[in-house]
């Protein structure tokens, strides 16, 4: 049945195209959004140690958390499938995880306006499955203890926004490179 075959191939190609265009747009948009929000929240020190930075007088503390579930697009999943065959670095999934982690940390920070520090940051990742097959989406949970009180004059905290992976900033490339 050649007709059926053509239909099937067209279907996959359309999905690939849609995934490529929309996935790429969503990713670069998301990265722009992440960088903008990260620079806004730079002055809230977040550390994964248990001792607060500087001499801080704490009046209150709460557990804060942020989480996000992100899915990879069809094109990248196909690319990752090829990679799984040949072995090597899976850049498609690296950016997915990077975006998810940074988004989760940002949501955590945004959930506690007025806090002066977040200590003991923990990040957990779990993959979400639908039925038996993996759908390539991940859940990231970030949590920590937010401290409220008097910010120390000198904490030695010099924050900077992290760079985004070069690939997201580059212009569109054509096709999988194997």
């Amino acid at each position: 049945m050649p007709n059926n075959l053509v239909l099937n191939i067209t279907y996959v190609l359309v999905l690939l195209f849609l995934g490529y265009v929309f996935g790429r747009r969503a990713e670069s948009r998301h990265y722009k959004d992440i960088v903008r929000r990260e620079s806004r929240l730079l002055q809230l020190p977040t550390i994964n140690g248990k001792q607060p930075l500087g001499d801080i007088s704490v009046v209150n503390c709460t557990l804060v958390r942020g989480s996000v579930v992100i899915s990879v697009d069809y094109f990248k999943r196909m690319l990752a499938g090829l990679r799984a065959f040949f072995g090597g670095e899976m850049q498609a999934y690296e950016t997915l995880l990077d975006r998810a982690r940074r988004e989760a940390v940002l949501r955590m920070k945004e959930s506690c306006p007025g806090a002066v520090q977040i200590i003991n940051l923990r990040i957990e990742t779990s993959s979400i499955y639908r039925g038996a097959e993996s759908v390539g989406s991940v859940e990231v949970l970030a949590y920590g203890t937010a401290l409220y009180g008097e910010q120390p004059a000198e904490s030695g905290f010099v924050p900077k926004v992290l760079p985004t992976p070069t690939r997201a900033a580059q212009p569109a490339r054509s096709g999988p490179t194997g």
Binding site: L15, K50, L63, V69, V72, Y74, I128, G136, E139, T145
Partner: protein
């Protein structure tokens, strides 16, 4: 109730320990959310339905843990940890646990 994921409550003193308290919940997503997730699997992006679902579950698990601590007469929970596991297809268990303590200024 004070909750933290470090061993103490900053600025307070632990005077009694009531032992480990925990809260858990198992949730499944409904079909509508699954349909949206299917679409998002083509286009990529955040699965908002799942994010909300897991957030609600976590809220409930924390609530249950707090209630347990309150029953023991504690006014704070320290060293809180989260854990997630998928127990069945399309369902996840959210588990949260910590140590119930009594603190004073």
């Amino acid at each position: 109730m004070f909750i933290s994921n470090i061993e103490t409550i900053p600025g307070k003193q632990v005077i009694a320990c009531q032992g480990v308290v925990a809260g858990s919940t198992v949730r499944a997503k409904h079909a509508g959310r699954d349909l949206m997730a299917g679409l998002k699997n083509i286009f990529g992006g955040e699965l908002k339905g799942y994010t909300e679902l897991l957030e609600e579950s976590r809220e409930q698990a924390i609530d249950r843990m707090k209630r347990q601590a309150a029953r023991l007469g504690a006014n704070a929970i320290v060293n809180v940890r989260f854990s997630t596991s998928s127990v069945a297809a399309g369902a996840a268990e959210i588990y949260v646990y910590g140590t119930a303590v009594t603190v004073t200024d």
